[in-house]
Amino acid sequence: MSAETPNRARHDPHATPDAGHGERVGVYVCHCGHNIANTVAVEEVARWAGEQPNVVVARDYKFMCSSLGQELIEQDIQQLGLNRVVVAACSPHMHEKTFRSACQRAGLNPYLFEMANIREMGSWATDDREAATQKARAQVKGAVDRAVHQQPLEPLYVDINPNTLVVGGGIAGLTAALELANAGYHVYLVERDSSIGGHMAKLDKTFPTLDCAACILTPKMVDVANHPNITLMTWSEVIAVHGYVGNFTVRVRKKARYIKEDLCTGCGTCVEKCPVRIIDQNFEVGLGYRKAVYRNFPQAVPKYPVIDTANCTFFQRGKCRACEIVCPTDAIDFNQKDQIVDLEVGNIILATGYEQFDARRVPQYGYGRLANVFTSMEFERMVNAAGPTAGRVVLRDGVTVPKRIGIIHCVGSRDKNYHEYCSRACCMAALKFAHLVHERVPEAEVFNFYIDIRASGKHYEEFYHRVLSESTHFIRGRVAEVTDAARGPGEEGQLIIQVEDTLIGKQRRIPVDMVILMAGMESRKDARQVAALFGLGCDYDGWFTERHAKLDPVVTMTEGILVAGACQGPKAIPESVAQGSAAAARVAGMIGQRVMKMEPVRASIDAASCSGCRICNTLCPYHAITFHEDRKVSEVITALCQGCGACVAACPSAAISGAHFTRDQVLAQIEGILWDARQPEVLWLEPQ
């Protein structure tokens, strides 16, 4: 085989563009303690980097992010006249800012800095020292070759609108809204349901202190409704989000309630007189009834009811009007229409919460088939004094008091068939239920079927011991089946829980009257649509992705969009409240700055090169591209552009370029990374 590398033409447009304009690059390879140095031969990478074109100095150092490491860079910039800096270390998410600041302190434009991530993408990804070292070389080479093409950029500044949108009126959203409102900032609180309070409003007692949920929640709900800084929009949904941090325009659909809010006094006469009674699948989770004009519960905030048109006799058949007739203030308005409202806000906190896992998906537990199998939320409503049974613990027939109750943990959670994660709150809720059963039905026997008891929270373990001392039976093992098929006379007419008791190593069949399934939490069915609407990410399970699981849990990768509560992952009340407050604090901090510095990484269109093909027109997720019909060219509105690059990649005429991600920068980086992979040109394969 013979191969030949042809003479490169003088003007090959694909040749690596000439650098050589006196760029002086400094390369710094970080050990990150042992994190990188254990797998990558950092000294060797630094030595090799020093031999590459344009590199003036290359060093390795224990911790580049330390102040000593940063000073090293600053000194070299000043003493060696570096005009490009490359740090090979961790992810730019961690320390890009750190090193950019170091460059800036030494008088170098921060956008002349480039980072090579040899930790997350190298040392942490393999144990193969040779491979990791070779990859680090490639990454460094790519970064150096890219850096020489980088241009100084100046940041953009935008004003921050001090108003905030909070989406979701559960405990996390309420907390966030109140914190911001109390700090003096205006909040729009948008809730999809007819009233606020979320899941917490359905609960009776809260673990481990056994506070009455309503007693601690309703004051907050009322505060929100009455707060001069809060615009409460229930029965409303966000349908579109435009703009960027500091300047979002949010379109909200206010669904028609068919009640004039300015006239309604909340007297409830319409609800009382409404002749239609239907099962309430929402608030009462199917355990109770509601009317066609209804409020979720008597203390609902706001107090105005809402008409369910799908079940209202007037809307379905054109007659009835009972509510209209009885209303003392003429507040019923059958002609109301949905309203579209545009809000201008600077930040958005998503607190959209969770859904309960549908226990029907575990058929062997019989929910929906065996009458006396209940879900945990059904039981919450049952023990709630304001609930459908007025707090009495009874079987599905509504009268029989159960003597033996089985509580099955981890339904849908910690299960490879459903969700691998732990839903966090159910163990404690199950303990609470055991306690409440003892309180309401002192003679009843309670069995908890658990895998592990997860009682890691303040005063949680103590509560566990209290329930243990109340003579609840704890059986360790995942329940195999709940059945009504009796095997003997002792099991007749009862539900049998079949379980392997792993502590005694035996199969057991426990007959009970009532089974409670501790159904776990899962992300809302429309979580992905919501994520797409607000432009943030979802993980595999549909939970919203935070910027950093430990260090930045309420901020997302999209500037100005924050998350709080169970929409980010399973959480109990205390964590949801903490996140609500944290998100509010972050927003308040941002508003306090008044003006925000924005990355100058923006796309722009060269009008002379734009042929007006309009490929880019539908692509921009931020609606930053407009088309000038008169001149037949498209234009990027710089203030709206977020620098995502979608249009840059799409422009077939290369008329759009992205600052800091120009074609020559990206190609130079690719060629640099592939420095050892270039294959000789094949002119012929076999001897001829």
Binding site: A9, R528, A608, T618, V682, L683, W684
Partner: protein
């Protein structure tokens, strides 16, 4: 004073470029009057030895059409580079490989099999593939060696100017010739594009352009496009947005998608550009869907795009970032 000298050569190409040059009409007489033709195998009998005998740099203007496909093409490219003051890569083959360059998607062995063995109309018992060296009673006959990789002219020798097009439009050739004849200075040489525009073809195209949302692709025979409306919007992969202007958008105006013969815009990869653009306007797989459903929907639309390599790189493959397919992957 002796007249300036002119040469034209035909390497791996179809001959359309020569015809296009003659399409300049009566201007060709002025060319003949102004220049001494010293080498133009297509129209007059010259021998390679004649050219070898000329002093270096003695040909004032050499139009070289055709890609470098074999050793003869390369030999002449080097020879004419040496003898010419101004060497022009004339037409798409010389500029970017054009249709001959599509051979870079496969190997010579496979190409030969298709041409001399597998073709339906070939009687296998009578076929003999050409060989570089053949023994005949009189001795050995050598024919040029076919290269595995087709190269544009500028990958073999430096070129001064490029006139793109398959073939270059007569009107554009005429404009260049007129400039040369009247002594109007050309732009600085060095792979410089002349006889074409500097923006995308859509600039010249009169069809109405709206925002694009493509739900399926069509080959030209599958639909009669709505007149007056951008063909890309209608699902025809019109290469116009990624193609250099200069032809006057002749094809789109008569309902035929631009195939991209004027090549990429400055410094771009035509196929990659167009592929990225098309991928950006496929209306399928909304972000609210699960990833596998998204992938299925997108794949269903993309499956209607037949022959992507031939669609996006019909002219520019040999001059693209990729240049050729990996030969090691050839099953033969």
């Amino acid at each position: 004073m002796a007249k300036p000298t002119f040469a034209m050569y035909w390497a791996a190409s179809c001959g359309g470029c020569e015809i296009s040059l003659l399409n300049v009409g009566e201007l060709i007489l002025d060319v003949d009057a102004a220049f001494d033709v010293v080498f133009w195998p297509c129209v007059a009998d010259f021998k390679y030895q004649d050219v070898e005998g000329y002093p270096d740099g003695s040909i004032d203007l050499c139009l070289f059409n055709g890609a470098i496909r074999n050793s003869e093409n390369e030999e002449l490219a080097r020879l004419l580079r040496r003898k010419s003051k101004t060497l022009v890569a004339f037409g798409s083959c010389a500029y970017e490989g054009c249709a001959p360059g599509l051979a870079n998607l496969t190997t010579n062995a496979a190409t030969m099999r298709t041409v001399y063995t597998d073709s339906l109309t070939t009687d296998e018992s009578r076929t003999r593939a050409p060989r570089p060296v053949t023994q005949v009673p009189e001795g050995e006959i050598h024919i040029p060696v076919l290269y595995e990789t087709v190269r544009p002219l500028d990958q073999v020798v430096p070129v001064d100017y490029i006139i793109p097009g398959c073939p270059p439009e007569a009107r554009q050739i005429a404009a260049v010739l007129r400039a040369v004849l009247t002594g109007t200075p050309l732009p600085a040489p060095g792979g410089t594009i002349i006889g074409a525009g500097h923006v995308a073809l859509c600039e010249e195209c009169p069809l109405a352009k709206n925002v694009k949302q493509i739900t399926r692709f069509y080959r030209p025979y599958e639909i009669v496009p709505e007149p007056g409306i951008c063909l890309l919007e209608q699902g025809l992969v019109c290469m116009g947005p990624a193609t250099r202007s200069g032809c006057g958008a002749l094809c789109p105006q008569v309902g035929m998608r631009c195939e991209g013969c004027y090549g990429p815009l400055d410094g771009q990869d035509q196929g990659a550009r167009m592929l990225a653009a098309v991928a950006s306007v496929v209306a399928a797989g909304g972000s609210h869907l699960d990833e596998h459903v998204q992938a299925q929907e997108i794949a269903a639309v993309m499956d209607t795009l037949v022959d992507p390599a031939g669609t996006f790189y019909r002219f520019s493959l040999a001059h693209s970032l990729l240049r050729r397919a990996r030969v090691a992957d050839d099953p033969a």
